[in-house]
């Protein structure tokens, strides 16, 4: 049976995962965290293919930057020369010249996994909680701001879809965006920007009318009707303890690999213990 947990428990879950991701640089633990998060996503029937694709997309520049600019480490794979010869011309490439090391490649790989973990954490958190309930956790005196955030978050995909629809409409009128002089291109793009901008303004105007006609005011109650079970108490408390333990450990002793990546592949048991709790919800 799938247990249903409170938004507060899920928020504590996400914060624990984020703490591990941010503080631990141990490759074994980080890879294990990915596996735990993938298992959790599968358990909740959440598709992760787009998240993985996004992580791979952003990993490519990470790998290139690391390989080309970080030359530290003892395990040299190959060397980038100080200059290259192209059709008989000598071209200096001093800024990137130096050894390509296994350490720099593994560090890039590590950063990619960290990125994947962050994306997975938020994918699961977004699916398992509602933004409305998350914002209801924010203190009442910030209610205007929380509503603003909720509306803004809802509007991002709407504006993107709007821009796409306007572009399509203008292309159907024979407008070419990619050719011609710079002035023509600016003019062509204004035919997309103006309707998109005005549509957004008109939409926000209607939304403001809807808020007004439904009696919106700062002084309102909050409908946060979620069960708070014994499981929520135990889990939230466990996550709180885990975060405290991880932060104090990091502040007091530091975790391995924090400053310089080394090729050591052993699990940090302190992190492992807290990681296993992430599998519970």
């Amino acid at each position: 049976m799938k247990l249903k947990f409170n938004t507060i428990t899920w928020t504590a879950w996400m914060l624990t995962g984020a703490t591990i991701t941010l503080l631990s640089n141990n490759p074994a633990n980080i890879i294990l965290l990915s596996l735990i998060l993938l298992a959790s996503a599968k358990k909740h029937h959440i598709s992760t293919s787009n998240t993985i694709k996004a992580a791979i997309f952003f990993s490519i520049p990470l790998l290139l930057i690391n390989v080309l600019f970080v030359h530290e480490g003892q395990h040299i794979l190959t060397e980038i020369p100080a200059d290259i010869h192209l059709i008989g011309i000598q071209i200096p490439i001093t800024p990137i010249s130096g050894p390509i090391t296994l350490e720099s490649v593994s560090a890039a790989f590590l950063f990619s996994i960290l990125l994947l973990n962050t994306l997975l954490l938020f994918t699961i958190y977004n699916k398992e909680t509602s933004i409305d309930n998350v914002l209801r956790l924010i203190p009442t005196r910030l209610s205007h701001s929380t509503l603003l955030i909720a509306i803004a978050l809802r509007f991002i995909p709407t504006i993107t879809q709007d821009a796409q629809a306007v572009t399509e409409a203008q292309r159907c009128r024979g407008l070419i965006f990619q050719t011609g002089s710079l002035a023509n291109r600016i003019k062509a793009n204004s035919s997309v920007m103006i309707p998109t901008f005005v549509n957004s303004l008109e939409r926000s105007y209607v939304l403001a009318e809807a808020l007004e006609s439904r009696g919106y005011s700062k002084n309102r109650t909050r409908y946060l009707k979620e069960d708070w079970s014994l499981g929520d108490w135990i889990l939230s408390f466990t996550y709180l303890l885990s975060i405290t333990y991880l932060v104090s450990s990091w502040a007091g002793f530091g975790f391995p690999y924090w400053n310089n990546p080394e090729l050591l592949f052993s699990l940090d048991l302190r992190v492992l213990m807290t990681q296993m709790f992430l599998l519970i919800p």
Partner: protein, 532 residues
């Protein structure tokens, strides 16, 4: 005491010389169902917004006369306070959602009323059971269908238990089935709970049986539907037929429903001859679609479509919300590419040519006219496409045909929804394409504007152009189409002459066809022509 009372009310938008509504007086008693009709841009939305005080509190401008709603003066009372008595439903449900899930949306108004969590919970459970929303209560609003969205908006407003509900064209984006469901819900709220309903709509055929008062803003008169509607620009088919038959000495009274009309017409039925269904004359194939399939996020939206469009033919595509109609027509000019299958447009494959190049062959007008409008004036908006495509259209004539000549120097976004739609259509017509494709072109248009547009499109088909229209409006389809295609779940379920497809079709049937089920009539004209 009257629930709503308007006394010689006039309103001017900021910087406007002419009033948006002029000297309007009417009253509505508790539990009445008032229908507001009038031509496009006559001030229906403005009038509705006066009822809950959005006009003038939110819009600014100048107001004259006196308004009383549930004992309050909305021009002086804060809108928040009026909201406790008056619920408002806007035209587009998408734009009025504030929260992201159905339950939160239902709770939003109740949180504003400062109700306790228990009371909010109780009211949510009541409205969700009344509107049958329990199965979608935890869904995100973005995942709902068009009909579900409008139902959630209505439920969230009614959860606040207003005495009056005001609705601005709530059915304009719904398929006939969803529109009927919404109107039945409104009718039962009106008759069972005595809720006062004020509704503005252009599709009057379906609303007419439920209303007991009509305000025609064009003439500024209010009265019983049977007195006002026969002379209105949006007269329902049954009343129009009754009026025309009266001239031919057949009296069927003022029937509100088809069954009522059937009883009154029974003794005259023999005088009506059946209409022969003409077979379609197929011309030259201009668009050919073979084995077209398309999926979004793993869901098949179009499944193995085989279809031809012919030169000089007026084709209407119909189907429920989400049936795949818009997806199908977006393939014609390359806005979408098929997952499987092929399309040929006058020998060109949209997959091999850019959309800008296809625009010379196919003119495409999408659902939202606002996506087209960015120029300073209506004339410039029309000239823009002509410049892009190097065409030489008669812009003055197009403006005249669309009844926009008097508005040619106005800023397009200052026009009403129906008028903006006409500008968007005009901006495509100036490209002079041979094939014209429209997605819901008559949305928000009054009857006269629809007739003008249909006549114009018919003129194009007479000139040998091909017209493809996606619409939910059964009456428009019946009036205009040579051929009707019905899509259901991405599959073509019917394709043939309009009479053959619509005759006896449970989902897409005109009032006249229901009245004469064996005569093959679709429109009032068909019935009058069949009369011996």
């Amino acid at each position: 005491m009257k629930t709503i009372e308007f006394n010689e009310v006039s309103y001017w938008y900021p910087n406007a010389d002419e009033p948006a509504i002029n000297d309007v007086s009417f009253s509505v008693s508790p539990g009445e169902f008032l229908l507001v009709v009038g031509s496009t841009g006559c001030g229906k939305s403005t009038l509705l917004k006066c009822i809950n005080g959005l006009v003038p509190h939110f819009t600014g401008g100048k107001i004259k006369g006196s308004i009383t709603v549930c004992g309050l003066n909305p021009t002086e009372t804060p809108t928040k306070k009026v909201a406790q008595h008056v619920g408002f439903v806007f035209q587009d449900p998408e734009n009025q959602f504030i929260m992201s899930t159905v339950e939160s949306e239902l709770a939003f108004g109740l949180e504003n009323l400062r109700l306790s969590v228990n009371e909010i919970s109780e009211r949510i459970s009541q409205v969700s059971s009344y509107f049958n929303l329990s199965h979608i209560i935890n869904k995100k609003v973005s995942e709902l269908s068009g009909g579900e969205k409008q139902k959630v908006v209505l439920a969230s407003v009614l959860a606040m238990r207003p005495k009056v509900i005001v609705l601005d064209e709530p059915t304009s984006q719904l398929d006939p089935e969803s529109a009927s469901n919404l109107l039945y819900s409104l009718n039962s709220l009106n008759s069972d709970f005595g809720l006062t309903v004020v509704l503005a709509d252009h599709r009057i055929d379906r609303v007419y049986p439920f209303v007991n008062k009509v305000l025609d803003l064009d003439c500024g008169v209010i009265g019983k539907p049977e007195d006002i509607l026969p002379n209105s620009v949006n007269s329902p088919a049954l009343l129009k037929l009754s009026k025309d038959l009266k001239d031919k000495r057949i009296n069927i009274g003022h029937p509100k429903t088809v069954s009522e009309a059937k009883i009154n017409l029974k003794k005259h039925l023999k005088k009506f001859n059946s209409k022969k269904i003409k077979s379609r004359k197929k011309g030259v194939v201009v668009v050919s679609i073979r084995k077209l399939s398309k999926s979004f996020n793993g869901k098949k939206v179009l499944n193995n479509i085989n279809l031809d469009f012919f030169r000089g033919e007026f084709t209407v595509i119909m189907g429920r919300n989400g049936a795949g109609k818009s997806t199908l027509i977006k393939h014609l000019n390359g806005l979408l590419q098929p997952d499987f299958g092929s399309i040929q447009v006058k020998g060109m494959s949209p997959a091999s040519f850019p959309i800008e190049e296809m625009a010379r062959k196919i003119g495409f007008v999408s659902q939202n006219p606002n996506n087209y409008l960015f120029s300073e004036t209506v004339s410039e908006e029309l000239a823009f496409t002509a410049r892009n495509l190097n065409s030489l259209p008669d812009i003055e004539r197009i403006l005249e045909n669309l009844n926009l000549s008097s508005k040619k120097n106005l800023y397009p976004r200052d026009l009403s929804g129906g008028e903006r739609q006409k500008v968007a259509i005009g901006s495509i017509l100036t490209g002079e394409p041979d094939i014209l494709v429209f997605d819901e072109p008559t949305r928000g248009m009054d009857s006269d504007s629809k007739h003008q547009l249909i006549s114009l499109l018919k003129e194009f088909t007479d000139q040998g152009k091909t017209v493809v229209v996606v619409t939910h409006d059964v009456e428009t389809a019946a009036e205009s189409a040579d051929r009707i295609i019905i899509l259901d779940n991405g599959v073509i379920t019917a394709d043939g002459p309009a009479t053959k497809v619509l005759n006896g079709n449970n989902l897409f049937q005109t009032q006249i066809n229901k009245l004469f089920p064996t005569k093959n009539y679709l429109t009032v004209d068909d019935a009058l022509k069949g009369l011996t």
